[in-house]
Amino acid sequence: MTATMPTGTTTPAASAARSRSWRPSRRLVPTLATFVLFVALFAGGSLRYDGFFSGQVLLNLFVDNAFLIVLAVGMTFVILTGGIDLSVGSVVALSGVLSAKLLAAGWAPVPVMLLVLVLGTALGLAMGAVIHYLDVQPFVVTLAGMFLARGLCYVVSVESIPIRDPLFTAFATGAVYLPGTELYVSPSVLVALAVVAIAAYVLACTRFGRGVYAVGGSSHSAMLMGLPVARIRVGVYAISGFCSALGGLLFAFYALSGYSLAAVGTELDAIAATVIGGTLLSGGVGLVAGSLLGVLVLGLIQTVISFEGTLSSWWTKIVIGVLLLAFVVLQRVIVRGGPR
């Protein structure tokens, strides 16, 4: 150990002054890299394709991926504690199918939405409780949750059910114009951005949020420091469950139907977006804003490939795979390169 001990008696004021000069923490490097990648992709697309450089192309990234943004936010909470939630895709499908079925049965839209959100949260809560109190691997528990939710979809309906409810349709077809422009987003985008903002606030500014980071850093230490580890670990899965159900509603607005086979594999998209956004899979490091960026990068790749026209859609998967690997390697390098 080549520790140089602090021996001076510098006042804290001096230290505070030093910290005021902004320097990116090395832990932020992956998120910044994602941002740079996003800008580069967008610039590249703009140079190569006519009509790419437009505000609406940018906004359509949000429109098309609003539900994925919400899923990635929930996933960020879970991954920050060092866990994983594989159930989100199935919960999206279940929320959609259940909404469509209940609406078709004549339920009013608002109770349907509330019920779906409560159910999603309850499923997350239950999985979190099993994970924490029975000390079972999150991977296994949420895998079981994934099969359970997917199976329940088929119990509700095997067929795709169209949604004709006026409120849902209004959400689906509504457009919110940016003041003074022709540019618009869907109402779902506003919901998704609100979720991002609330999540960012909770993670940065509340004891619960800081506890999430502490548990991800070292669960054992957090416990010895007297933090409510049980509440935090169960809480993040409840949050992810809520976000999955909300994402399911947004997906239902987008598709205007409920289908049991919808959103297969979306949990992996959410995980990929979170990791590309700079969240460490082992927990403790990451930002919601990064996950948002991650989703936008995934969306941008799809946009570029659709503009290219000649490329098949599986190129999306290949590029995402390569990116994911690159980011995990980048994080590894940063963690290794760090002191201790």
Partner: protein, 511 residues
Amino acid sequence: MPEPVVAMRGIEIGFPGVKALDGVDFRLLPGEVHALMGENGAGKSTLIKALTGVYGLDGGTVTVRGEPAVFSGPAAAQAAGIATVYQEVNLCPNLSVAENILLGREPRRPVWQGGRIDRRGVRRRAGELLARLRLDVDPDSALGEHPLAVQQLVAIARAVDLEADVLILDEPTSSLDATEVAELFRIVRGLRADGVAVLFVSHFIDQVYEIADRVTILRNGRLVGEHLVAELPRLDMVAKMVGHELAVLADLDREPAAEVAGDPTVTPVLAARGIGRGGAIEPADLDVRPGEVVGLAGLLGSGRTELVRLLFGADRPDAGSLQVRGRPVRLRGPHAAVAEGIAFCSEDRKGEGVVGDLTVRDNIVLALQARRGWARRIPRRTADELVARWISALDIRPADPDALLRNLSGGNQQKCLLARWLITEPRLLILDEPTRGIDVGAKAQIQQLVAELAGDGLGVVFVSAELEEVVRLSDRVAVLRDRRKVGELPRADASVGRVMELIASGGGHLA
């Protein structure tokens, strides 16, 4: 004398089959540093855990500031002003220094302002605490960027913020180097001046004499005594810790390998020159000649195991060199050591030695098979012959090669482990605490065996916490203290008293 802030009387704690604490009295005065000393298993940690509410009491009383106190756990003890800093830093490396100090107790804005964490307030309060400890650390920097020592000091800052008037430091110095320890002690002295009672657990005698005002010594779960450090000579302290229990063992009829012991003309089977590893053991020399038993004596934490792990290549030395039979070697790992004819029986018999779910036969042939490589299976008949020979040679009971190893007693498991290495015909055998936790009879057998093996020309390094055993068995005794080799005694000079003197004085003159 001021009123004790903590008084424990007649503390009794039993675990199944063991009495961990037996009527121990302990008191802690405000404004003192009180050392708790004792060998492994003396009951130090148990006493701390009894105080902080981790263990329930089977007998006795605890009073804090004159009031009877029963804590349900560490959180309750913290609330009563008893903070504990553990040997391992239990903080979150991914968060900032300020957050680690205040996590869970962050100052918050009033509810009408949203009730969010007042980040500026967090930074200011953390800055004040760091200033009070005169630690020049940026509160915004990530904890993980700092050396372990600073992290340990941040843990103390967290404890201080609890406004604790009792601070328990459980072996806080075990991972620190000398300058870092000095920094820690400066802070401890400051706290003492503020009237905090500090309970300091350490194996390092020098540090106890440097920092502590009073010492309580435990041995085998019993109170040996409470003394003012200034009035207790070092030799007495060591004697009180180690005790004078002479094991009832048969005398060994062993011819000392006097003709080779210390004879510079005989090429050592293993010669270490200035071998060391930062934070584990300071550079030391050690020679082992054929037919010689070299004992390593020292208290727990003195670096015995650390030294032999370097000799076996289990850890990489960062200084010094090794010679095997006069040829310089660089051991890249245990595998290389085995190839050089070095065998090592770990002190952690269960974790690093025997495989409980395999049979006696499988355990014994394990190392030989490993040396041959997995592709060249040992023929069953050869294995049976070898195993039968060693079972009878070492008197392993039951003498059944098909018995599962976990069903054997500790002593017999140890013999299987020995057989495993002896079958590979090593030139040098390193035994780390081979007699720990086994009964007296098996102990005597293993000692006898070591003597015989040396008689056959094997070089042996024998590590034991029991000084009598080391002295009786060894041709030479190397004495370690505080991670440093402080001397070497030839058989003629070696006695328990001399070894204890060396441990107490550290090679210099006695205090």
